[in-house]
């Protein structure tokens, strides 16, 4: 028998960026907030010995314990879905801060085009530009409406940037901190892209260029370019993360508590409202019911979708009939790119997660698509994140993958190789979706989430086009050998690609096509909010968290309004 606990105003499921932002804003507004986090407490003091590639980047010390829970995957409906038994394609977060602890910190605002992609594409290229099996649609919010929330997230996080991207949406203020250092490696890219007539700028970074105090009074330190950033926590408190910003802000109010080792298994619903959540204490094994006036799902794309599915909230998408919205519009990203082998040695092992330069000339609709068989594009960047020796063994084509020749070539080229790579936007397709698995269960007896996903023709065309652009840039950079990435085939869950999973719990202006409204309030339960990249109806050519952060601030505003007046916010 589950034990029922005292009711709170707001309960969040998971404490990463989204859980932290909701907590900070609601607690500041006087609401009593409880965060339920399945993992443990952790913070800067735990990252002192973090410069250890093997433990953190290879053995995934900070990430989800898949023995307890994973997803199942198949490329298409005819295949049997099988568990992702070990981490690969994306790295799911766990413990305080979620993936916000071990992210890189590339912090983007999606383009104005992203939010109105369908209207803008049809207006410019006609109704036939988007084939009917692609569920491309507007988001139910415009860039201008979201701008103040982007601004707020960037100020909370102290983002460093140069503001020199001619393609980005209008900004109400400059980046809070100046850009990071422009290293010789970055300058190579800057020079090459300028020569080619493009518009390079410094990648907006959550590895701060200088010490910064945010509007909540939290201090973020200056990045040391240590080279152990992505997949690691920052021992200096210099990488903006929930543990050093929004979580302490929420805690300071006295209105916030976090319960660790609390794995939520169900959202409880009665009539057209939710009443709270059920969770299992991972240490004691006890089951609890946590009643709340407002429930907020902040457990990342996967568990947000899964919890709605196991709780029977909303209608599951069915590719056969086309009915239902839950699980629909799941998208990923594609990574066009080119590797260049140089003669001279470079300091590739120095760097920071977001140290890089980018061009947006081939992103969104910043270039003409009239004669192209795809829409959208990719940001193309050169990043200097700190190459580490286990993971970085670049060899020119035709070199064996082991033995004497491999050893020589991989050692020689380690400090002589650079990459230009893009994050290609992927568009939602009828056959790509999330649902519940009927065979496999997690450690608590709850079905696993099932992913049915493959790259589409749109993805392949975009990948091909942009790969050739990266190749041109790399040639211009002076590499003696340039190796373009292989053409896209089937999506493979094994190699790491990006943790930029989106969709499944989309936002929109109508309940027929979306799961939540533009305050991220569930259409079927007014006191249930669902926050994360799952809200995106399609993916963009950028990393998601800037937009996720903006949406979380918007959602918090909605929750505070709702707690005063109730009802639907739209």
């Amino acid at each position: 028998m589950a034990k029922t606990l005292d009711k709170v105003d707001v309960v969040t499921v998971g404490v990463g960026w989204t859980g932290g932002i909701i907590a900070a804003e609601c607690a500041k507004a006087g609401l009593k907030v409880l965060g339920l986090e399945r993992g443990k407490e952790r913070g800067t003091e735990d990252y002192l010995m973090v410069h250890d590639e093997f433990r953190y980047a290879i053995r995934y010390e900070l990430m989800q314990d898949l023995s307890k829970e994973t997803i199942t995957f198949r490329n298409n409906r005819k295949q049997r879905a099988l568990p992702m038994r070990q981490m690969g394609s994306f790295l799911l977060g766990e413990n305080l801060g979620g993936s916000g602890t071990h992210w890189n910190g590339h912090t983007w605002r999606f383009l104005p085009y992203d939010f109105e992609i369908k209207s803008m594409t049809e207006k410019k290229y006609g109704k036939d530009k988007i084939p009917k099996d692609y569920f491309v649609r507007d988001w139910g919010i415009t860039y201008d409406e979201l701008e103040p929330y982007f601004d707020k997230f960037e100020k909370t996080a102290g983002i460093s940037g140069d503001g020199k991207n001619p393609f980005e949406g209008k900004r109400s203020s400059d980046y809070p901190t100046p850009p990071m250092k422009k290293t010789p490696i970055l300058k190579k890219f800057e020079e090459a892209t300028t020569n080619l007539g493009y518009h390079p700028f410094m990648l907006p970074s959550a590895n701060l260029s200088e010490k910064y105090k945010n509007p909540d009074g939290e201090t973020i330190n200056a990045c040391q370019y240590c080279g152990f950033c992505e997949r690691f926590g920052c021992e200096y408190g210099a990488k903006t993360s929930p543990e050093i910003t929004v979580i302490p802000t929420a805690r300071k109010t006295g209105n916030y508590d976090i319960r660790f080792h609390a794995n939520v298994t169900e959202v409880l619903k009665k009539g057209d409202k939710v009443t709270g959540v059920k969770f299992i204490d991972r240490v004691s094994g006890e089951e609890f019911i946590q009643p709340a006036d407002v429930v907020v799902l902040t457990s990342y794309v996967m568990n947000n979708a899964k919890l709605l599915m196991v709780s029977g909230i909303g209608e599951q998408y069915d590719p056969e009939t086309g009915r239902g919205t839950l699980g629909k519009n799941y998208c990923y990203q594609i990574l066009p790119g080119a590797t260049g082998f140089f003669d001279e040695q470079m300091n590739v092992f120095m760097g920071a997660g977001s140290l890089g330069m980018t061009i947006d000339d081939f992103n969104g609709d910043n270039f003409d698509h009239s004669d192209l068989d795809f829409i959208h594009g990719a940001s193309l960047s050169l990043t200097q994140t700190g190459a580490r020796p286990i993971q970085t063994n670049p060899v020119p084509p035709d070199t064996p993958t082991w033995g004497a020749e491999f050893k020589k070539a991989s050692i020689h080229n380690y400090t002589r190789t650079l990459n230009v790579s893009g994050q290609g936007a992927s568009m939602p397709h009828k056959e790509n979706y999330l649902s519940l698995d009927s065979n496999y269960k997690d450690a608590y007896g709850v079905p696993l989430l099932q992913m049915t996903y493959n790259f589409t023709d749109q993805d392949k065309a975009l990948h091909k086009y942009l790969t050739s652009k990266t190749e041109e840039i790399m040639k211009e950079m002076g590499a003696k050998t340039v190796v373009p990435g292989n053409p896209l085939t089937d999506y493979d869950i094994v190699p790491y690609q990006t943790t930029h999973n989106v969709g499944g719990t989309t936002m929109g202006s109508e309940p027929d096509t979306s799961v939540v409204n533009n305050y991220l309030q569930h259409w079927d339960a007014e006191n249930l909010f669902v926050v994360g990249a799952g809200n995106f109806p399609h993916n963009s050519g950028y990393n998601p968290t800037g937009t996720v952060g903006a949406l979380a601030y918007r959602c918090a505003e909605g929750i505070i309004k709702y707690s005063k007046n109730g009802g639907s916010l739209v």
Binding site: T44, E69, F73, M84, R85, K407, I411, T415, Y491
Partner: protein
């Protein structure tokens, strides 16, 4: 010698300045400790003290393999993957076999962080690891198979073969031409190759990468507190590597 001293000096300079830069960061004991340790490690890198350091006994040992034949097979296989050459030591001198042995005895070998609930089906390549076996079980079977192939083809145990004979067998594993149970030989080979690279290049606290020699070959400085003062330099920075274990002293 003058050259050597200059290198040390500039290194110490760099560490000192970076220490100052980092010292302002957390305003606490944490960074204090860091700076102190940096200075100390710089001294250790100097010739006289290095001899001292070399006297330190290490206690490597086997935690997983119970007999020499299997351990030697593992050792030779890793050496073929990452051989000793004019650049420096190979897998055996780097301690890779001990690294792998120790890993197999722990979380990695026992798949503690992997989803291991059934049912198990072979699946497509795009679906990844689907074996019911733990990595420890896969290695045990794989090593036994390497010996079996060696006996079958050359009437010797694997570690007694010539290099090219070993390569022939390993290549067949890689190409999935060897029959294994509940796992493919290609998958075992991928694990073996990856584990060899891990053992070569992981921090020496995991019992591979002896003396940080693999890092030295590659020009990777291991753990350094900060590059803030050198990252804009155009020249390639040769920095003597450091292990995270140095933070404990």
């Amino acid at each position: 010698m003058a050259e050597e001293r200059k290198k040390n000096l500039s290194r110490r300079d760099f560490l000192k300045t970076s220490g100052i830069a980092t010292g302002t960061l957390l305003g606490g004991g944490l960074i204090g400790g860091l700076v102190g340790y940096n200075v100390k490690r710089t001294n250790v890198a100097e010739p006289e003290t290095k001899t001292e350091a070399q006297k330190t006994e290490t206690f490597k040992g086997r935690m997983f393999f119970t007999n020499n034949k299997d351990f030697n097979t593992l050792s030779q296989a890793t050496e073929r993957i990452f051989p000793k050459d004019d650049l420096g030591p190979g897998a055996i001198d780097l301690g890779v076999p001990y690294f792998i042995d120790n890993q197999l005895a722990g979380n990695y070998g026992n798949n503690t962080k992997e989803y291991m609930q059934g049912p198990f089906f072979a699946g497509e390549a795009t679906q990844g690891y689907q074996s019911r076996l733990t990595r420890a079980e896969i290695f045990s079977q794989g090593i036994a198979k390497l010996n079996e192939e060696a006996t079958k083809r050359f009437k010797k145990s694997f570690s007694e073969l010539e290099g090219n004979q070993m390569d022939e067998i390993l290549t067949d594993f890689q190409k999935d031409k060897i029959k294994m149970t509940a796992v493919s030989s290609a998958f075992f080979f991928r694990l073996l190759r990856q584990a060899t690279l891990e053992g070569a290049y992981a921090d020496p606290i995991y019992n591979g990468n002896n003396n940080m020699d693999a890092w030295r070959m590659k020009g990777f400085p291991g753990h350094q507190a900060s590059y803030i003062n050198v990252i804009e330099n155009k020249e390639f920075q040769k920095i003597d590597p450091k292990s995270v274990s140095s933070m404990m002293h």
